[in-house]
Every structure is written in structure tokens, then in C-alpha cells.
């Protein structure tokens, strides 16, 4: 798909490339250049491509987005950041404004010497070599033009490295804010998380921005979890109502590693989350939980891929959607079990609740199994609130709106309850309940 958007991204690249070359290593420069070439070749996807059949990115391709090179707070101060934080989570907080690290708004804690929790720009400037084996090694630019675009424009984001055997108890919070700039802004946050052997950590990514104006977040997270390491990863997408949010989480897991992933998608006008997990070690395990709640004309798409490449690996996936008004949801969950991956255990479910007649959801589970001794199960449901349950609640004095809220909240809690970090779970449940109550009032008002 050729468009003004593509031309802008391409024409601006040489200047960007020259500018950032001063900070980073030469090897990164060639990665960027290969990526922009790949982006040029791919262009933006269109609906004729199977992976993009239900998600139309033309509005992104049509918009001329502005790349911010100088950080400006545009009124986002500490108080605004506090509102987006999780009371009770006292660990590292790294804040990014329009894609660039903000030392003023960030909050650092003392951590063991070898632990790295810093901005990607700083890591690339000061000591890039340790990143080289990992950065842009897992998130592939070949097929996904947005990953290619992010890689080409990679500049800042977060670098987290937990050395062997180290445990970071407090959650590390990465907060990506698009500020209320006058122009439609694009950011390309890049996150690299390396959990070395036997280490443990919790990372939370939050995305937020201004109310109604268009902007574009194009994020890529690469996660490497080595033998016996454990990572809790929680992504909370609360972008503004005019936002486009495209993100890939690419995880690579080694022997006996464990990842617990949550993807919570509440905001944006159009959101697409790709989560690709490669279980490339015996006994590795990933749990993917997800929740999307949409309203108005929001569109939220989750594409997940779990690749069982070694024996005895386990994946448990549960995604739930609540779709209201004219909104649309897409869930595509693919599980691949390779020939060597005997004794794979994979379970996937996607459950959707439609709250209005105008809401739609496309759900598509897909299994590709090349091994013979495996246990795989998947299921998808699309339903409405249960009339008998609504009646039951009303016989207990709850009005129709409150009864609907409560039942929907109950449906959602199945996912939020699985978040292990109490303050995050509590905040999320408060957010969800407030939103459902708001929707209830709106419904009663019409």
C-alpha cells in the first residue's frame, strides 16, 4: 500500500539515521538501514493479507505523523504520571515522553550492580555491546512492516537486564506517554528485556496519551528468558481515544523458563497487539492472559502465536473480550507444535461478551501440530449476558444497569484475578468497574 504516510517515513529516514548515528554503534546503523529497506518493500499491510483481514490500517497510512526529536512535557507533570502509576508499586519507574526518556519524571531505585534498568538510548550510547546478541534478533522485520518501521526508527525505550540468579522483587514500571502536542505524533518505543539464567523479575508496560487527537504508538518489546528464569510481564494499553496503537511482543524462552504475560487493552481508536512466544527450551512454560474492552467505534486486535519448538513445553492462553456499542474485536490465536515438541501441553481459550447489537468480534483459533504425542485444546465463545443471571440479580434489588455491570465485571475478573501484583490488579479492577458503571449510566440515559 503506497501512501503519504509511507513516503514521509521513508523521506525522513536519512536525516534521522544521520542524527542518531552519533549515539549508537555501527552495527545498529546497519540494522536500521536494513529495516527501512524492508519497510519500503513491504509497505503498510492491507486487508488482502490474511493476518490483516479484519484490521484496516489505512487511517495510519494516510496520516502524516510527526516524529518528536526534542522531549517536551506539554503539561505532563509528576502529578499526571502519578495518576497513571499503581499505588503500592514502589519499584523503578521509567517514564518516556513522546518516545524519549524523561529523567525528571522517572524514579529510580537502588538495584544490584549488574542489573540494568535504563533507557535504551543510554544503554546504546554508553555500553551497547551486551545488547548486540539480543537486540533485533528476535523481533523479525521480514514479515511485519510495523516491526520493520520500529526497528528503523529505534532510538529510545527501555533496556532491562537481570543477571544470573538475581531476583528483582518490585515491579519495574515503564510508562510511555504521548503528550498533547499540536501535531499527530508517532513514537517507536523499543524495549529489550533479558532475564538471565535463574533470574526473576516483573515488568509492567503502560501506554497512555491525550484524549481525542490522533497519534501513533508503534512499539516493539523483545523478551529473552534464559534457563530457569521467570518473568511476569503485564502490558496495560490505555491510549487516548484518537490513538493508533500497534505493538509486538516477541518472547524467546529457554529451558524450564516461565513467562506470565498479561495484555490488557482498554484504550485507542485502533489497537493491534501481536504476541509471539517461542518456547525453544525443554520444560518451558508460558501463560498468556488477555483482556480487551472496547466501546464507541474502537477496534482492538490480538494476534498471538505460541511456537512449541522443544519437548515438554506448556502454554496456557486465556483471552477475554467485552465489546460494547459499535466496537470491534479480533482475536487470532495460533499454536504451532513442532515435530520435536513431544509431550506439549497447550490450552487456549477466547471468550467474548457482546454488550450491544452493534458490537462484533472475529475469533479464530488455529492449531498446527507436527508432533504426535501432544495435548492441545482450544475453544472460542461469543455470547451475551445471561438473562437468568440478570433476573437473579434484579430479584435482589439491583437495577438492570447495575446487574449488567456486575455480571460483566465478574466476566472480566476471571482475567484480572490472574495478575499476581496486587496493586496492579486492584487498580485495574477499579478502572474496569468505573468504566462499566460509566457505560451503564450512558445506557440508562438513552
Amino acid at each position: 500500500m503506497k501512501s503519504q504516510g509511507i513516503d514521509l517515513f521513508l523521506s525522513r529516514f536519512p536525516a534521522f539515521d544521520r542524527e542518531v548515528a552519533a549515539y549508537g554503534p555501527a552495527w545498529l546503523r546497519s540494522i536500521r538501514r536494513e529495516a527501512i529497506a524492508r519497510f519500503e518493500a513491504l509497505g503498510f499491510p492491507d486487508s488482502r493479507q490474511e493476518a490483516w483481514r479484519f484490521t484496516d490500517v489505512k487511517p495510519i497510512a494516510r496520516t502524516a505523523f510527526h516524529l518528536v526529536t526534542e522531549p517536551a512535557s506539554n503539561g505532563w507533570d509528576r502529578a499526571a504520571v502519578e495518576r497513571l502509576a499503581f499505588p503500592g508499586v514502589e519499584g523503578e519507574r521509567i517514564v518516556f515522553l513522546d518516545g524519549l526518556y524523561s529523567p525528571e519524571l522517572s524514579h529510580h531505585c537502588p538495584v544490584p550492580d549488574a542489573v540494568r534498568i535504563q533507557s535504551l538510548a543510554a544503554a546504546l550510547k554508553e555500553d551497547p555491546e551486551p545488547l548486540r546478541p539480543f537486540l533485533a534478533r528476535h523481533a523479525k522485520v521480514e514479515e511485519n512492516p510495523f516491526v520493520a518501521l520500529n526497528t528503523a526508527y529505534m532510538r529510545d525505550g527501555a533496556y532491562i537486564r537481570i543477571p544470573r540468579g538475581e531476583q528483582i522483587r518490585q515491579a519495574i514500571h515503564l510508562l510511555f506517554l504521548t503528550t498533547a502536542a499540536r501535531r499527530a505524533v508517532v513514537t517507536h518505543p523499543r524495549i529489550l528485556i533479558v532475564a538471565e539464567e535463574g533470574s526473576r523479575a516483573t515488568v509492567v508496560e503502560s501506554f497512555a496519551g491525550p484524549g481525542d487527537q490522533p497519534y501513533f504508538t508503534n512499539a516493539v518489546t523483545e523478551i529473552v528468558v534464559q534457563g530457569n528464569a521467570e518473568l511476569d510481564h503485564c502490558k496495560l494499553q490505555r491510549e487516548g481515544r484518537g490513538a493508533f496503537h500497534i505493538a509486538t511482543i516477541q518472547a524467546y524462552q529457554e529451558r524450564d523458563s516461565k513467562v506470565l504475560s498479561h495484555s490488557i487493552s482498554l484504550g485507542a481508536r485502533l489497537a493491534r497487539n501481536e504476541l509471539n512466544f517461542v518456547l525453544d527450551g525443554e520444560g518451558s512454560e508460558c501463560t498468556l492472559n488477555g483482556l480487551y474492552m472496547t466501546t464507541n467505534r474502537q477496534h482492538v486486535d490480538h494476534h498471538t502465536l505460541i511456537d512449541h519448538a522443544r519437548p515438554n513445553s506448556t502454554s496456557l492462553e486465556c483471552y477475554k473480550g467485552v465489546l460494547d456499542e459499535e466496537s470491534r474485536g479480533v482475536f487470532h490465536g495460533k499454536i504451532v507444535v513442532r515435530k520435536d515438541a513431544q509431550k506439549t501441553n497447550a490450552r487456549q481459550s477466547n471468550k467474548n461478551l457482546l454488550l450491544s447489537e452493534g458490537a462484533t468480534v472475529h475469533t479464530q483459533p488455529q492449531l498446527e501440530i507436527y508432533a504426535d504425542d501432544v495435548k492441545c485444546a482450544h475453544g472460542a465463545t461469543i455470547g451475551q449476558l445471561d438473562e437468568d443471571s440478570l433476573y437473579y440479580l434484579r430479584t435482589r434489588g439491583l437495577g438492570p444497569a447495575e446487574a449488567r455491570t456486575l455480571l460483566t465485571y465478574g466476566f472480566v475478573r476471571d482475567i484480572t484475578e490472574r495478575i499476581r501484583i496486587e496493586p496492579i490488579r486492584a487498580k485495574l479492577e477499579t478502572l474496569v468497574l468505573a468504566r462499566l458503571r460509566g457505560a451503564g449510566r450512558k445506557r440508562e440515559g438513552r
Binding site: 433476573y391 437473579y392 430479584t395 434489588g397 439491583l398 437495577g399 447495575e402 455480571l407 465485571y409 476471571d414
Partner: protein, 270 residues
């Protein structure tokens, strides 16, 4: 019947209702005074559950005729939740499960909606917990169940006890127990019955809907009515239940007045 000058809690006259196009209630009359416990008995399909649900306000039942007065006011024009807030409580034959919402949370929301309706302040969460734990003890319900999602994974007996617990917390004016005895073993039945008996009050009326006499050994009713083909065909004191047990429902079929008969013996002809 005593106290005929008192205003009844419930007056049902000539009630007709259908579900899915099929007429289930066909001219039902029933009057209940405060302080009374009435048993409604009848074979399967006689309309017992329909009556319970029509009184509670189930929108799936279409009322096609008759009148229901609750504490002197027309009940049928009132929404389900308003009825509950005005003091009507239905203990379900098959209580639903509500994933993700604990009994404690749900019941507090419920109590608060009733208190709010009365213009009273919401209950303090700590006070509520004290109250609900006390009531749970009375129905021998394990306190851990209060924090579990409503009825999810509960045994049949636990579900029924949860219904009685809710009744005790919400303190209705008119409680309707729809086959609360079904699926209960004798021990659970005794617990449920003692919970119900503890709720007997001069200001409160109860309708106990049951297929079997068994429950009425433990909850002794003031009046017993036999429902057949959507109408009350026989009314009497508690001894009627025993007579039914002995003779079977076929006896009331033979003994029942012709379908055209205007009223049950319980209600004076208007």
C-alpha cells in the same frame, strides 16, 4: 382466618399468566396476611414456580389477567428490582452461578440498593461483614464460601443455604421459597428450615412452594393450598399437607371444583 380486618400483605385475584404462549396460571386467587406462612403444594406443572416467578417479576412470564396487590398497591406494574427493594424476596429453586463476583460483594450491593431505596445510608463494609458472618453461622454456611464467586462450585445444599442466607440479610416482607427443599438431604433440610423459622415474624409473610410434605414437618405452615392446572383447588390448615401425602395429588384432582368455579375457598367472592 384471624385478623380479617388487617390489610393483607398479598392479595392475588384471578391471576392468569402464560409463558411461551402456554397458559400456566388460570385464574389464581390467594390472600396472605402479615405473620403467616402459606404452603403452596401441587404436582409438577401445576404452576407453582410460575406463581413464584410472576410475583418476583420475571419478564419471561406474561400476565394476561387478574390483579396482584402487595401491601395495598398494584404489584404487576412494578419492575423486578423495585419489588425486591419493596421487600419481596424469591429463594430460587435453581440459584444461578455468578462467576467473578463473591457472595459477600454481591449481597452487600444488594442490601445497599434496598437501603438506598428506603432512603437509608449504605451499610459500612465492616458492619456488613459482621452481619453476614453472623447470618452465615445460622445456616451453618462455611464462611469461606462468602468470598467465593456466587454459587460457583457450590453443592446443591450450599446453594440453597446461600438463598436462605440472602433472605436473612435482606429481611424481606414477603419471602417466596421456590422448592427450597428439592435436592436437600435431611440434615440440610433441617438447617434450611430452622433458618426459615428464625425469620418468622408478625410483620413478615412467607410462601413456601413445595412438591412434598416433608419440608412442612419442619416449617409448619398456617395455611396449605393445593395448586392444580393453574388454580388453587383446595385450601386448608397444616393437616391438609398430611392428607395430601397420604392420598396423593390425584385426590385433589377428583375433589377439585370444576374449572369454571370462580374462587378458591380462601378468598371471599368479590
Amino acid at each position: 382466618m384471624t385478623g380479617s380486618k388487617k390489610k393483607p400483605i398479598l392479595e392475588v385475584r384471578g391471576l392468569r399468566a402464560r409463558v411461551g404462549g402456554k397458559e400456566i396460571l388460570r385464574g389464581l386467587d390467594l390472600t396472605i396476611q402479615a405473620g403467616e406462612v402459606h404452603a403452596i403444594m401441587g404436582p409438577n406443572g401445576s404452576g407453582k414456580s410460575t406463581l413464584a416467578n410472576v410475583l418476583a417479576g420475571h419478564e419471561g412470564y406474561e400476565v394476561t389477567g387478574g390483579q396482584v396487590m402487595y401491601r395495598g398497591k398494584d404489584l404487576l406494574s412494578v419492575s423486578t428490582e423495585e419489588r425486591a427493594r419493596e421487600g419481596i424476596f424469591l429463594a430460587f429453586q435453581y440459584p444461578v452461578e455468578i462467576p467473578g463476583i463473591s457472595t459477600a460483594y454481591f449481597l452487600r450491593a444488594s442490601l445497599n440498593s434496598i437501603l438506598k431505596h428506603r432512603g437509608e445510608e449504605e451499610i459500612d463494609p465492616i458492619d456488613f461483614l459482621t452481619l453476614v458472618k453472623k447470618k452465615a453461622k445460622l445456616v451453618q454456611m462455611d464462611q469461606s464460601l462468602l468470598n467465593r464467586p456466587v454459587n460457583e462450585g457450590f453443592s446443591g445444599g450450599e446453594k440453597k443455604r446461600n438463598e436462605i442466607l440472602q433472605m436473612m440479610v435482606l429481611e424481606p416482607r414477603l419471602a417466596i421459597l421456590d422448592e427450597t427443599d428439592s435436592g436437600l438431604d435431611i440434615d440440610a433440610l433441617k438447617i434450611v428450615a430452622s433458618g426459615v423459622n428464625a425469620m418468622r415474624d408478625p410483620e413478615r409473610a412467607m410462601i413456601v412452594v413445595t412438591h412434598y410434605q416433608r419440608l412442612l414437618t419442619y416449617i409448619v405452615p398456617d395455611r396449605v393450598h393445593v395448586l392444580s392446572h393453574g388454580r388453587i383447588v383446595k385450601s386448608g390448615g397444616k393437616e391438609l399437607a398430611l392428607e395430601l401425602e397420604e392420598k396423593g395429588y390425584a385426590w385433589t384432582e377428583i375433589d377439585s371444583p370444576a374449572p369454571a368455579a370462580p374462587t378458591s375457598p380462601d378468598v371471599p367472592a368479590s
